[in-house]
Amino acid sequence: MVDADASPPQAGEPISEQEALRRLRQSEDSSQQYYGAWWLGRMRSQHPEAVPLLQQALRQRRPRDSGDGVEENAVARNAARALGKLAPAAQTAIPDLLDTLQDADDGLREAAARALGQLAASEAIEALCEKLASGPAGAGAQQANSPRLVEPCEALLEALGDIGVNEPRVLAVVKPFLEHERPLIRSAAARTLLQLSGEARWGELLVDLLDHPQLQVRRAALMDLGAAGWRPGFQAIAATLAENSLKLMALRGLVEQGNGDPGDEALLACMDALL
């Protein structure tokens, strides 16, 4: 699925890598750190200081204080996201991200899970499975005073798919989420199973979700089919009632992540028609 606020906090002047590092290094102004962390991820910085500074920013997190107007963990969240984009250099940050997976802030757990998925961190499988083990009624239950779930299930499920280790224990943890009441969670579970097993039934389940009455669900299913690169879904993707931009992103996923039939030429013709 799409990362909720992966955009810059404000449209600023273009800055240099040195400036981004400087902003992240200072500690007086957290909005500057926030921007610096975002920049390093967005630009896929290869600077040797980038990963250590992002690790440091990730450790800066603090317990949530609901009375506090400023969102202190925003910098840590952006640092986690940036680390996810800096594979393979960010492998050294995997232990920090594993710690963060246990943080009390669920937004931060979500960002850490996504980053671990992007880094294909097989070390994280056990912790991810543990978080999900209580199933839709536990990890997948809605929090008392918030629409959020007890655990960031979508991110946790997708991380398991991105890591891509097809083991019975992983499948057993993911499958119950196919019955979750929220279609976005069902979509994430189907995507993960498709990535892990390649079985057509999970792809077909995602294709069914392309017809869902809610646009948000259709968008998620598009992104999930793209992430799994499931080529047999290409015509259903093209026919979905959603923005062409998203269909093009999904089809790009089929071209780049998938293989087999249909071949590149048919997929590219399908993309050409959506421009």
């Binding site: 009632l241 931009s245 093009l248 790009r252 780049e256 590219l268 050409d272 421009l275």
Partner: protein, 214 residues
């Protein structure tokens, strides 16, 4: 006693639509009428902030072809959302009266979705009715804009530039310098740079293969 034409009825139905669903259905019906008098109303739909209806209206306008161009060019330039859809319609129609708008859109529009539509459109301008010297002038303008956009920051725009360059070159004899320049643009897009998406490279590769067989 004048009889109300079927198109007029469909226009009325569209103007009276009071839900997003009704508007979508009415737009689809009007778009299917293939009647030039529908053009101004379909252009109006582009500004309604209803993406489903706008897609149907764009399809209808493209099928009307040159008959829709006047209505499209009269669009309020301040209405950004409608303008973006109009670029897509003009790109699909390929009428040379839309050239300035497409050049402008590819070079400077903030939305990647608009730039990508313009890029494809610049590759498929319908020039057969122009005198040969003017054809060449237009082709050079299109080519220049497409070559400049090979360095666009968005993969989807570069992808559309590959499509536009292939379409443009396919309409030219290979001995012309313009054909060579279009080919060189595709070679640029073929480069496996770190920030170039594999899908763009594959599309450029396919375009080059097809041009070799021309």
């Amino acid at each position: 006693m004048s009889q109300v034409s079927p198109v007029a009825e469909k226009i009325t139905a569209l103007q009276q639509a009071d839900s997003a669903q009704d508007l979508l259905r009415a737009t689809q019906e009007l778009a299917a009428s293939a009647d030039a008098s529908a053009a101004p109303v379909l252009v109006e739909v582009l500004g309604f902030n209803n993406p489903g209806a706008a897609v149907a209206a764009v399809e209808g306008l493209i099928s009307l072809g040159t008959a829709a161009v006047d209505a499209l060019l009269q669009l309020d330039p301040e209405n950004y959302g409608a303008r973006a859809w109009a670029v897509r319609a003009l790109a699909g129609i390929g009428d040379v009266r839309g050239l300035e708008l497409l050049l402008d859109a590819l070079g400077s529009d903030v939305a990647a979705s608009v730039r990508r539509a313009a890029a494809k459109g610049l590759g498929q301008m319908q020039l057969a009715e122009l005198p040969p010297d003017q054809q060449q002038v237009v082709q050079r303008q299109c080519l220049g804009a497409l070559l400049a956009a090979t360095s666009d920051g968005e993969w989807v725009v570069r992808y559309a530039v590959a499509v536009g360059l292939e379409l443009l070159a396919a309409g030219l004899p290979p001995h012309l310098p313009e054909w060579q320049q279009a080919r060189a643009g595709l070679v640029t897009l073929l480069a496996a740079a770190a920030d170039n998406a594999p899908v763009v490279q594959r599309r450029a590769h396919l375009a080059l293969l097809r041009l070799e067989q021309q």
